[in-house]
């Protein structure tokens, strides 16, 4: 039982790192980037290539995936995404789907359609006895890294000047501009960091998530659930939503395998109907 809970938490924290960039940029620019999962996939496949083809250490793959995806995100944001900000949500969704399709086909072309397996370093294999439960070392590693990332994010957002400028921009972009805050630049940086985190999540997830070309489509749905339950105005909302979703998904699959995704989709629709702004959003803000 405790093992399942532990696996669920690991999965949930991974989801959080994958999705958090999308939540923040959606709250900041009201831009729905359904293709966010493509960055995670890029991180995952980069790790596969570096690890399996070039024998780079798994521990080095993680920062490499972050940096690579952050640069990729920054370039795409400046060249393509920037043209979509003042268009309708429908256009943004179509654009995202186009990016998803292209990324799926590209990965399929270079890497093939089959699922990719990575050989984790021996130090991350095996299991530990922890509080009477058997715990995978790798999942523990995932929890530690994601936990550190979460703390770092929370610190950056709550304690740094960049964080307060970012929050100001989310609160009221128009006035923030009038107060000398370069919202466009803040958004570009946030987008890059968010993409980088997705890439890191994708790299970390190679051992947990199944990595094949339709990854962005599959996880798009999970990200949407995280957003609809967690809201976009804080990062604690998406954090708890991810943990909840991770635990619910893992326990659901364990105890009621026949229900599969049914359970979480129903939760998503129910939440959207009851609270169109997300479950964890602070009550009426004005």
């Amino acid at each position: 039982m405790l093992t399942i809970l532990f696996d669920g938490v690991a999965y949930g924290m991974l989801l959080f790192v994958l999705a958090v960039g999308l939540c923040v940029t959606l709250g900041l620019m009201n831009f729905i980037n359904l293709a966010h999962g493509a960055f995670a996939m890029a991180g995952g496949y980069l790790t596969v290539v570096l690890l399996n083809k070039f024998g780079v250490s798994f521990y080095l793959c993680l920062p490499a995936a972050f940096v690579f995806c952050a640069i990729l995100g920054a370039v795409l944001e400046r060249t393509l995404y920037v043209r979509l900000y003042d268009k309708s949500h429908l256009d943004q969704v179509l654009f995202s789907i186009a990016i998803i399709f292209m990324s799926i086909a590209t990965v399929d072309y270079f890497m093939g359609a089959s699922q990719q397996i990575v050989n984790l370093p021996p130090s991350l294999q095996g299991r530990l006895e922890f509080l009477g439960a058997s715990v995978g070392v790798y999942r523990l590693f995932v929890i530690i890294i994601c936990g550190l990332m979460t703390i770092a994010l929370q610190y950056a957002l709550a304690r740094t000047r960049f964080g307060s400028r970012l929050r100001a921009a989310v609160d009221d972009g128009r006035v923030a501009r009038g107060m000398g805050i370069d919202v466009t630049k803040i958004f570009a940086i946030t987008f890059a960091v968010g993409s980088g985190l997705a890439g890191l999540g994708g790299a970390l997830g190679t051992g947990i998530l199944s990595l094949y070309p339709t990854f962005p489509l599959k996880y798009m749905i999970l990200f949407l659930i995280v957003i609809s339950v967690g809201g976009t105005t804080t990062i604690t909302g998406p954090f708890f939503a991810s943990i909840l979703l991770g635990v619910a998904d893992v326990t659901g699959k364990y105890f009621l395998p026949s229900f599969g995704g049914f359970f979480i989709y129903t939760i998503m629709v129910a939440v959207l109907i009851l609270r169109p702004q997300g479950l964890f959003v602070r009550g009426a803000s004005r």
Binding site: S164, R167, A168, D172, M179, R286
Partner: protein
Amino acid sequence: MSELLALDDVSAGYGEALVLNHVSLSLDEGKSLALLGRNGTGKTTLLNTIVGLTRRRGGTLRLLGRDITNLRPDQRAEAGVGWVPQERNIFKSLTVDENLTAVLRPGPWNVDRIYAMFPRLAERKKNMGNQLSGGEQQMLAIGRALALNPRLLLLDEPLEGLAPIIVDELLAALGKLIRDEGMSAILVEQSARKILPLTDRAIILERGAIAYAGDSSALAGDQTTLHNLLGVAERPGQKPARAH
């Protein structure tokens, strides 16, 4: 005196609507201007145009001799425009302290000096932006604009909706800022009597154009103009055209 701000034949509005019609004005450094007019005459639009938030349809703007017509709002803030928006628009998920530090630029105004000016804010440093009273929000909005260390302060109806005792407190602070510190400012206000004593010059807008420009002290004594342009009155010489 060197010129601080100059608007040359500026027309602006929102979307299709045109609100400002061919407005020209200039303000010297260290001087202050009262921007008066009934509501809907374009006062806020004029300030927002200086900040860079409206759709400009023509004309040019200069700040300290530099053409700022095509600068973005954040670049204008950097160039020296400090703005106190009409609705205050305090960043609600930032603390009082963060509201100041997030926008702070180097210069004579630092956070301590702002707190010294508004001691009430110092007591509420750790409060979130949405946990302040109206008067405190207004003080914070002014403090936030000062944190930019602006050359020109734009105040959009800073006294509106506040209790009389707070109005007096704010007027005293503004008086200190403008008269004693020599801060250049444009004050938008509906109640002419309150801000005319604070300012050097006054402009009255009507239908987006300048209907009166002159010295504040002269305007304060000019009952007829005040009544005709700001009060409830017909414009002299214009008869109701309902006859036909």
